[in-house]
């Protein structure tokens, strides 16, 4: 399969600070990849190099077969961008804004159809100044899709959304998959990455610290399913073979063999007449995995880099 994005050894510095420090990243054609990382990890710097907004210091970058630093008009026809922060022209209505952008492309989709696609058909004549935050973000997405792109960059597309608006956006992004469009998505939300992405790339301190499916990432940090319960005051200590750890009023097991340990635990509980109140078996969440992965990286930057650029 051809690669929509192929990045090797990308470096981008601001002064002496290496915001992006040798990032490798690839997105296959038709793949949705989530790019995760804390603020200041180099996400936005990386994505802005790929979008052709920033020049890189070194590394090789190919986006749809071209170097975005030399972005041609033809290349821009094939790429859709949802910026992290951008506002709309307050004086134009939703449909006028989409029509204006449709003129920028040689072959664009039908403005009314795109407006319907992002669920704004009922707000077509609302001026930019009258649209809600969620509606503005949907219009952003519509503007990225109007040129019928092969590749879409989504920089935190649902930040600030309420849960139902996020779910609606997710279904729109999943609909992109049907069209064969490749997507590079940055997000702070683990559930968003898990829900939408075929693959997750975690960046911290300007370096890629993990790359794979949610399950791959869990394996990588050795995250295990845990078993926990709240012991009663008169409960005997669990057998030493179980290696239970007490934290607060909870006992926790991190078994290497889940079935065997569960069997041993329940057998012991039955014999000793222990109730195992609040017994829970928990899969590790991507959030736990993410926190483990990014905790090790040096927390040098506390803001998105960019102030010294452009």
């Amino acid at each position: 399969m051809a690669k929509a994005i192929d990045v090797v050894g990308l470096v981008k510095s601001y002064g002496s600070h290496r915001a992006v420090d040798g990032v490798d990243l690839s997105v296959e054609e038709g793949e949705i990849v989530a790019f995760l990382g804390p603020n200041g990890a180099g996400k936005t710097s990386t994505i802005e190099v790929l979008e052709g907004y920033r020049e890189r210091d070194s590394g090789s970058v190919s986006v749809l077969g071209e170097d975005p630093a030399k972005a041609s008009t033809e290349w821009r026809e094939r790429v859709g961008i949802v910026l992290q922060e951008s506002q709309l022209i307050e004086e134009l209505s939703a449909i006028e804004t989409i029509r204006m952008h449709s003129r920028y492309y040689r072959a664009s989709r039908d403005p009314e159809e795109v407006l319907g696609l992002v669920g704004l058909a009922d707000s077509a004549d609302q001026r930019g100044s009258k649209l809600s935050g969620g509606q503005k973000r949907r219009l952003d997405l519509a503007l990225a899709l109007i040129g019928d792109p092969e590749l879409v960059f989504l920089d935190e597309p649902t930040t600030g959304f309420d849960p139902s608006a996020r779910r609606e956006s997710w279904s729109m992004i999943e609909a992109l998959r049907e069209t064969g469009c490749s997507v590079l998505l940055t997000t702070h939300y683990m559930d968003e990455a898990e829900q939408l992405a075929d693959r997750i790339v975690v960046i911290a301190g300007g370096r890629v610290v993990a790359n794979g499916t949610a399950a791959d990432l869990a394996d990588l940090v050795g995250a295990r399913t845990t078993v926990s319960w709240r012991p009663g005051p008169s409960d005997p200590a669990p057998p030493p073979g179980l290696a239970a750890v007490a934290t607060g009023d909870t006992m926790t097991l991190s078994p290497t063999d889940l079935v065997a340990d569960l069997h041993a635990l329940t057998g012991w509980a039955r014999e000793a007449n222990v109730h195992l109140d609040g017994l829970a078996v928990k899969q590790p969440t991507l959030e736990d995995v993410y926190l483990t992965l990014t905790a090790d990286a040096s927390p040098t930057a506390d803001a998105e880099p960019g102030s010294e650029a452009s």
Partner: protein, 257 residues
């Protein structure tokens, strides 16, 4: 779509945006007309000129008001709206589309020229209808050239100015700090004798030459078409300077992002 078609569409949208922006329309369309009413009220609208050829005094206020309208429609309007669009991420979004940058920038100037001609018709028309302003037909060709040269040049200067304006809040302050003092010394608000040093300073900048070119074009006593080449060339030279600065320094993204 050809570049020219794209330009036409963008100009249409930019004019719609201008029309719906109440601050921009007030300062460009209403404000100069208010000044025309104020001047005729304060200084009167008596008949002046050689016997037999008397014209209304308002005839001499119109060129200054026109200069004010053209500079508001172009330099002031562009400096403020383009900085606002840059700081709010709108220019960055445009830069991410296949629209060629020159078409977008050119559209702003074309819209400014179009609004300037609209204001020429409005100011001269209201002057003629309400204040009996004398419109000398022999000056019309040079009036058209003067408005065009000034509108194009001040558009370029407005775009150039965006590079030194750091934020949306600073835009009206910086722009007005530049044009307001020049209006007063450049025959826009007050026409007449002024100290020599002041005339020397005013002569450096394009506002004086715009006002002078419009005054010559509007001269009610001229028998032949006036050709104020010297003023046009100086205004155009400033416009060229603005274009060079724009090409070298125009920013599409906020420095803070």
């Amino acid at each position: 779509m050809s570049a020219l078609t794209q330009l036409r569409h963008q100009v249409n949208f930019d004019l719609t945006i201008f029309r719906r922006n109440s601050a921009a329309t007030f300062f460009t369309v209403i404000f100069p007309l208010i000044f025309l009413f104020i001047f005729t009220s304060i200084f009167g609208n008596q008949e002046v000129g050689p016997p037999g050829e008397e014209v209304r005094a308002a005839t001499f206020y119109v060129p200054g008001i026109l200069a004010l309208a053209v500079i508001s429609a172009t330099l002031v309007n562009l400096a403020i709206t383009m900085v606002s669009r840059r700081e709010r991420g709108l220019l960055k979004r445009v830069r991410g589309t296949p629209l060629r940058p020159w078409i977008f920038v050119m559209s702003q100037a074309v819209a400014g020229v179009a609004i300037s001609f609209f204001m020429t018709v409005v100011v001269v028309g209201i002057g003629w209808l309400v204040f009996d302003v004398d419109v000398n037909a022999s000056g019309v060709p040079s009036l058209i050239i003067s408005v065009f040269v000034a509108a194009a040049s001040f558009s370029a200067l407005g775009l150039a100015l965006t590079s030194i304006i750091p934020s949306e809040n600073a835009a009206p302050a910086i722009t007005n700090a530049i044009v307001l003092p020049l209006y007063f010394i450049s025959d826009v608000f007050i026409v007449g004798e002024k100290p020599e040093w002041m005339a020397t300073v005013a002569d450096i900048f394009p506002i004086q030459h715009t006002a002078s070119a419009l005054q010559e074009s509007f001269d009610p006593f001229a028998d032949t078409t006036p050709w104020p080449w010297d003023h046009w060339l100086i205004v155009a030279a400033w416009g060229l300077f603005g274009l060079v600065v724009t090409l070298a320094t125009f920013r599409w993204t906020s420095a803070r992002r």
